[in-house]
């Protein structure tokens, strides 16, 4: 029996269910009598509906109802009821609330019919008249209107220090550049969908694609007036989300609305086109100014960002703070403002803020290195921050130096000729670029419950999610190791609002947050078991303390003398217990809060560019990541690999193009919205730099969902410069920009 699991490359416990199709997703729950809803989207960006004619649709036999703002029932009235755990300040979008159009392709009707095909057809027969108002969707044209957004929970507003303006003016070396990036959409493989199963007694089981079942449950109960006993939200499997499922998406509202009004079980799935009609990574414009001594020592950093938000909410993310954190500098000026546009509210997308902020900062650092004529790594080491100057705190751990060193070694960075266009093979220009990355190691409060039964099987649960990240697996490992059980004897449950309280899965905090709760609840069980074991007549552990035993191989064993042991099953039997059940809550301690807690990375890339045609290939990427203790190198590596691929997309491909005449996103399908395909992805190596970090949280793990993407776009942009001598500062770097 092997019961040491943490740090082992254990395969996903849900892997078999996923590859055999046994894992069911939100749109795969079928019951007799299920009816289907299809969403009709607005054709204009701003204005109001003057007429909505549903008669033709309703005439079709089998069409049950067309829900619009005209017949939507009276629901909760206050903005608060529509808010959620992740909502930024403002007035959340309410589907079918009124005839106002707030953004192009917003949902304006739900057609419900006996079959999906019929609903689809009927949806094409809904005739809508609009009165158009002038809209604004172009960030670059509206930058003048930028204002300070109301602060958002967990997003510290940027704070300046020293006098950056003066220091910049006095600096011998000065660099000032602008960077911009377009809207990106998350585009997980699985489109958003909800199946509401209505029980005889009117209770609803809501199978929803979400990153937070309790967040959705609270929202639905607040909006529709259900009690939590009457509405349960389930989301056992999620086909990717990347942040798109942090907030309730409108199809869950519409599905519950229809189930409630029609007293039927209902499914609403979004089309791929509709995956471009809610949250997104905001378009952004940034200016970075660096003042430095001739040797590259930073004397002033100014980082200004203007991003987009909707007319109804103040979305903000941590874009510029990184510039006050990553390098030592006494004169730092940071600002992040937003412009209201006629688009849906942006939202968190994998490493929100850091992907944009580090793109600008790490490109600017590369430009500075070139300007002062030193190696980009040397520049970073010269300005290495030993303390967090934003917060005035020490780091719990920071092995960024080792990331630079090990990444550079693996990549062969020493062989780089720093001169642009100096490395070529025929008409292929080769470029090597690097960048650093940083992401917060959040830890918040979560609860967990555990039940150990007399047969030695353990079930642990918490209402978190596994969006493909490996939560099921890691939590199983933690629990199994805590009690010294084989993986097969442990089951972890998640994705059910009736389980113990958990925040949404996001921010790379699930491993630490839910993991700490799992650890805490297992500690309680250990204590109980140990007491039972000691009470056994003539117990070999009678004189031992809990601190002096280990839980391994299904036994409680004395540290000093492994022959002195009691099996868990024995302990339970002697105690006459059929089950031990415990609950625990765990959150950050004041000791943890004394430290700044961040994961770091260094990314190295090689691009090959056709000198004539401008086509860019990312041939090699080395990502070196320091993220505390690696709980499972296999799932961890997958996270970083996927994030690097996504970073290639950000650098070279992804762009939700808005036609500003219509205020409409036109690349709303996966043929026009490019993400990397296999042929775009070549060698990727992931290195984990070990960090022994007792201070960060009880698990010593920093979370890995996001750090892998940070810095990738900058590393590629820097490699493109090295290859071609051209700085392309607006993403994505498409071949036309190189011609």
């Amino acid at each position: 029996m092997r019961t040491e699991h943490i740090g082992k490359p254990i395969s996903r416990v849900d892997g078999r269910a996923k590859v055999t199709g046994a894992a069911k997703y939100a749109a795969e729950y079928n019951v007799p009598g299920l009816v289907y809803g299809v969403v009709v989207s607005s054709a204009i960006a701003k204005g109001r509906i003057t007429r909505i004619d549903v008669a033709e649709a309703l005439r079709l036999p089998g069409v049950l109802q067309v829900f619009t703002h005209e017949n939507s029932p009276l629901l909760a009235q206050s903005d608060n009821s529509y808010s959620d755990e992740v909502a930024p300040p403002g007035s959340p979008f309410r589907p079918l609330h009124d005839g106002e159009i707030r953004y192009s392709a917003q949902p304006v009707a739900l057609v419900v019919a006996d079959t999906f095909e019929l609903a689809h057809y009927a949806a094409s027969l809904v005739r809508i008249g609009y009165e158009r108002d002038a809209h604004a969707t172009n960030l670059n044209e509206e930058r003048e209107r930028a204002y300070q957004p109301r602060p958002r929970e967990f997003i510290p507003p940027p704070e300046s220090r020293g006098n950056a303006e003066k220091a910049f003016a006095e600096a011998i070396v000065r660099l000032e550049e602008e960077y911009s990036a377009p809207i990106e959409h998350h585009n997980p493989m699985e489109p958003f969908a909800t199946t509401v199963l209505r029980e005889e007694n009117g209770r609803l089981l809501v199978y929803d694609k979400t990153q937070g079942v309790q967040n959705v449950q609270n929202y639905l109960c607040n909006v529709f007036g259900y009690s939590k006993g009457d509405l349960r939200v389930l989301s056992p499997f999620v086909g990717g989300a990347f942040g798109a499922g942090l907030r309730p998406v409108y199809q869950v509202f519409l599905a519950v609305l229809a189930a409630r009004e029609l007293k039927r079980s209902v499914r609403v799935s979004l089309m791929r086109q509709q995956m471009f009609t809610f949250t997104h990574r905001p378009a952004i414009w940034q200016r970075v100014a660096l003042g430095a001594a001739p040797d590259g020592t930073l004397e002033a950093i100014t980082h200004k960002a203007i991003a987009e938000t909707s007319q109804f909410e103040d979305y903000s993310e941590t874009v510029v703070n990184w510039s006050g954190l990553l390098y030592r500098c006494d004169n730092v000026e940071l600002s992040h403002t937003v412009v209201k546009l006629d688009l849906h509210t942006p939202g968190d997308m994998r490493a929100p803020g850091a992907v944009w902020g580090l793109h600008a900062l790490e490109c600017a650092m590369d430009e500075l290195a070139f300007k002062v004529g030193i190696d980009p790594i040397e520049l970073r080491l010269k300005n290495y921050a030993e303390r967090d100057q934003n917060e005035g705190k020490p780091f719990s751990s920071k092995e960024l130096r080792a990331c630079y060193r090990l990444g550079a070694e693996k990549f062969g960075w020493a062989r780089r000729n720093p001169q642009p266009r100096s490395m070529r093979e025929g008409n292929v220009l080769i470029g090597w670029g690097m960048a650093g990355g940083v992401w917060e190691a959040f830890h918040i409060t979560a609860d967990a419950k555990a039940t150990l039964t007399a047969d030695g099987r353990l079930t642990v649960s918490s209402a978190t999610a596994d969006i493909g990240t490996g939560t099921y697996t890691i939590m199983t490992q933690i629990a199994a190791e805590m009690l010294g059980l084989p993986i097969e004897d442990v089951t972890f449950k998640l994705g059910d609002s009736s389980l113990s309280k958990s925040p949404v899965e996001g921010g790379s905090f699930t491993a630490s947050t839910v993991g700490s709760a799992v650890k805490a609840v297992c500690e309680k069980i250990r204590k109980k078991l140990f007491q039972l074991a000691r009470k056994i007549d003539g117990s070999p552990l009678a004189n031992t303390k809990l601190d002096n035993v280990r839980f391994v191989d299904g036994q409680i064993r004395s540290h000093n003398d492994s022959s002195r042991a009691v099996s868990l099953i024995e302990a339970m039997r002697h105690g006459g217990l059929s089950a031990i059940e415990e609950k625990a809550s765990a959150g950050p301690t004041p000791e943890q809060m004394q430290y700044s807690r961040f994961a770091h990375s260094a990314v190295f890339t090689e691009v090959r560019i056709d000198e004539d045609l401008g086509t860019i290939r990312v041939m090699r990427v080395v990502g070196a990541v320091a993220a505390g203790r690696i709980l499972n190198p296999k799932t961890a590596r997958s996270q970083v690999l996927g994030a690097i691929v996504m970073g290639i997309g950000t650098a070279l491909e992804e762009e939700s193009v808005i036609d500003h005449t219509f205020g409409r996103i036109m690349t709303h399908n996966l043929a026009d919205y490019h993400v990397p395909v296999n042929a775009d992805v070549h060698d990727i190596e992931v290195i984990f730099v070990q960090e022994q970090d007792e201070a960060v949280n009880p698990l010593g793990a920093k979370g890995l969902g996001e750090i892998g993407i940070v810095g990738v776009a900058a590393a590629i942009a820097n490699a493109v410069f090295h290859a071609t001598g051209k700085r392309i500062r607006d993403l994505p770097i498409t071949l036309d920009k190189l011609l």
């Binding site: 204009i44 057809y121 491909e653 193009v657 036109m666 399908n669 043929a671 026009d672 775009d680």
Partner: protein, 331 residues
């Protein structure tokens, strides 16, 4: 998607009768383009006539030394056919540069010829488009036109033809065989697709009551000197920004015949035989390639976001000709 009826035709005569009887009926072959357009409410056929049971598959030799591709031969069948690979590698490479294996397994020769533009406004019924609804205006001219045409455009439409296979067929001077109520006729490839003019709603010269039965390849396949170069925004699974099919006959380093077809730049695979003759009797040098590239693009016109295609097309022509002029061409 609208509600439609579905029938499966067992012979060409029945298929033609059914399509003639219902002005809003459509043939369906692989369905890889038509179904997408139906889901978007762009195509709203009253009836689908499934032609996949007709005996229009297969690839057979012709008495003149060429090959006949059945209209229902799949893109995969054609691309991996031994004779095509050996004698018409340009065609094989062009097909394999397109779509994905799954799509090519479904897509047919006939359907590929008739696939419609990928203009994003054409696909989105919330925006005006002359090709969808004549007279309402073209959103692309002042809009997002990165993928659009630079040659042969009109004030009504600047859409580009998305096919890779057709670019090779244009270079090979294939012939399209069609059958209609009045019998069979053959259409030279250059006369099959149309420029938009003021009827951008009409893509080709195929009549509504006609069916494509096959495509004939002439005997000459330019196997020794050819190249298919496709430039796109990612390495695979993307439509061409610009593509070039180059086919040469050479005597030593002297070009005796040159064929150049361009994809992604016009409403049809673009040929300019007059300009191609500039290369006849010339040696295969970069300078000569540049001259013909300049000449081919002399009338090109950009519309904002697609302006880069003019320069890109020239560079691509030079590259494709260089590749083709090597023996044992590799693209």
């Amino acid at each position: 998607m609208n509600s439609f009826s579905y029938t499966r035709a067992d012979d060409v005569a029945t298929a033609l009768r059914e399509v003639a009887a219902d002005g809003a009926a459509k043939f369906i072959a692989g369905g890889t383009n038509l179904i997408d357009l139906m889901k978007e409410n762009v195509e709203r056929p009253s009836r689908l006539i499934d032609i996949t049971r007709l005996t229009l598959g297969g690839i057979r030799p012709r008495s003149d030394g060429g090959l006949r591709l059945g209209a229902l031969a799949t893109n995969t069948d054609v691309a991996y056919h031994k004779e095509i690979e050996r004698r018409y590698p340009l065609l094989s490479k062009a097909i394999l540069a397109g779509a994905s294996p799954q799509l090519r397994n479904m897509a047919t020769v006939g359907g590929n010829l008739l696939q419609r533009t990928r203009c994003c406004y054409f696909y989105d019924t919330a925006t005006p488009c002359n090709k969808r609804t004549p007279g309402v205006g073209c959103s692309a001219i002042a809009g997002f036109n990165r993928a659009h045409a630079i040659l042969g455009t009109s004030a009504a439409c600047i859409a580009s033809h998305p096919s890779d296979m057709c670019v090779a067929l244009a270079a090979l001077e294939a012939v399209v065989r069609v059958t209609g109520s009045v019998g069979e006729r053959v259409v030279p490839f250059a006369a099959f697709h149309r420029l938009p003019g003021d009827t951008p709603n009409i893509d080709t010269n195929l009549q509504a009551d006609e069916i494509i039965t096959g495509v004939d390849l002439p005997a000459r396949g330019f196997a020794e000197h050819h190249a298919y170069l496709k430039i796109r925004d990612r390495a695979s699974y993307a439509f061409a920004l610009v593509s070039v099919a180059a086919a040469l006959e050479m005597d030593g380093n002297t070009i005796t015949e040159a064929r150049l077809a361009l994809g992604g730049v016009a409403h049809k695979p673009w040929r300019d035989p007059q300009t191609e003759t500039m290369l006849h009797g010339q040696s295969a040098t970069r300078e000569n390639f540049k001259r013909v590239a300049e000449a081919l693009l002399r009338d090109a016109k950009g519309f904002g976001r697609n302006r880069f295609k003019i320069e890109l097309a020239k560079l691509a022509i030079v590259r494709a000709l260089s590749q083709a002029s090597f023996k044992e061409a590799h693209s």
